[in-house]
Symmetry: C2
Subunit: 313 residues, 2 copies
């Protein structure tokens, strides 16, 4: 799957991931009111509205971007109904040829870690006597994973990467202001995020694809360019998933060093900046009904920004 993602990035010359992180405020009124009309002010209605909204965005961008990243928290907030919309969104995106990065940030140990890995990028077995069924739950192509519990929290995900040709992105340096509280502290002069980076190299060393990139990627926030540059050198075979573009303040100019010399090595995520583009002054001409066209235009503009400033054309 890492090779599929890297190849698609090359074909489209667009190292981009569209963050499908719906919140009710982003969803145009006409979609919400239709859902409320059918289901009342319920979780079911929000879930339906999220799926309709996502479908509009996916239809508008699937031919120009390689991947989408649904953020499961947004769906989880609306319970079972919300998570059903998450699953349908993943399925629909895959049908459209998109690589799906499930932003789930799971992390646990032992049998619990196995359950999370099976849930998000693997399969569970159901057995009765001689009969065995393999079932999948959320079935993304990649999942994001939290490293705080160490290798025990990662190894079951590595197994799924191997068995099912999937991938993970391990949180190394996140984009938020307080990320430094534990990630930046120095251990004999070395920040914790570099210790995590070393582990990412180790975990990924036997999972390098034909593209030269590993199935074990890293989350590296766009908001700390100096750190991004340093991590690029430490992890040359690691694909970076980079949050923080747009709404969190970073632009293409900040991100050149997140890429290798071949113009590959990073997937830049934008969520709000694309899916809620119609709410920005810049794209206001599209109006609410044109939310999907606004999203496409914002995507085209983001691709140009990255082509101009980061990867060459």
């Amino acid at each position: 799957m890492i090779d599929t993602l890297v190849n698609r990035i090359k074909e489209l010359n667009a190292p981009i991931c569209v963050g499908l992180d719906p919140v009710p405020d982003f969803v145009p009124g006409f979609i919400k009111e239709k859902a409320f009309g059918s289901h009342g002010l319920t979780k079911k209605a929000v879930a339906e509205a999220f799926f309709e909204f996502n479908k509009g965005i996916i239809d508008a961008v699937y031919d120009i971007v390689p991947s989408v990243k649904p953020q499961i928290a947004m769906y989880e907030e609306f319970g079972i109904e919300g998570l059903d919309a998450y699953i349908r969104t993943c399925e629909y995106a895959k049908e459209k040829g998109l690589v799906v990065i499930g932003d789930v940030k799971r992390g646990d140990i032992g049998s619990t870690s196995r359950a999370y890995a099976n849930a998000h990028i693997g399969k569970a077995l159901i057995k009765s006597g001689e009969r065995v069924e393999e079932v999948s739950a959320f079935d993304a192509d990649f999942a994001t994973v939290n490293p705080y519990m160490g290798s025990d929290g990662i190894k079951e995900f590595l197994r799924c990467c191997k068995e099912y040709d999937k991938g993970i992105f391990v949180l190394v340096k996140t984009s938020n202001p307080s990320s430094g509280e534990f990630q930046d502290v120095l251990v004999d002069g070395t920040p914790v995020y570099e210790l995590v980076a070393d582990k990412v190299n180790e975990w990924g060393s036997e999972l390098i694809g034909e593209s030269g990139y590993s199935r074990v990627g890293a989350v590296v926030g766009a908001t700390y360019p100096e750190i991004g540059k340093k991590l690029r050198l430490i992890m040359p075979k690691t694909l970076f998933l980079v949050p923080g573009y747009g709404a969190q303040g970073a632009t293409g100019k900040d991100l050149k060093e997140y890429f290798n010399d071949d113009g590959l090595g990073a997937v830049i995520n934008s969520s709000r900046g694309i899916i809620a583009a119609y709410k920005k002054e810049e794209y206001a001409g599209f109006s609410e009904e044109g939310f999907a066209d606004a999203a496409r235009q914002a995507t085209v503009d983001m691709i140009k920004d990255l082509q101009d400033n980061c990867i060459g054309r």
Copy 2:
């Protein structure tokens, strides 16, 4: 809720939490076969079997323990259907007067963190014009939280602790063998888990209940007694949620120092050791049909172990 939990621990003289972490192998054959008979080898069948199993365990222990800790990963592995069993388990446990600790280990930032907090210990708002509905999704009393992203990942959970009288347990030192890879590294002589402990004190400082304990608790693994002892001194007002008893090797003798002098301050979790007790030689006399009675006996034995070795009678 922290006061409810501490009071109930005192009343029962049982600082215990039963981990409701079902896996198909733990569920007695007669429960599984009934579910497979109705639903085939499906996620729905596993979910039904999990709920029946949990119900048996809850009915057997609700009058002698203060709390249960369902591990959401085990349910998530079986998708929407599994998570429905998680929700029903939480509801049923609350009906029986148990405090429910949702072991979800979520951690993210900004609006994503808000969504997770709302999902697990808060409520989401659905608005249309003047109309507003408040909905809850998973609605546990406490949730476990991962601190790797720093304060940004915690503050929305703190808001829910205040608004809805809930609590959290922050991962400080986990029970697994590789927990030291990042948690134990030394920053100017101080291990990272102590930096996290300092933050737990800070985050909880304005959320101290009448019991003297804070709504912000800490996960401190039973398998590192020396560290538990040290953390007890650093976090005197913090309730510890302690995994690792039983199946992971710790016994009451290892855990005395996890408690304050008043005999309070820790909730010791046992999962496999209780819910799968009927599979152990020690409780084999109960047979599969008596799985719930075996669970009760294992709970009684665990309470005695803790009373004898940790908290006095």
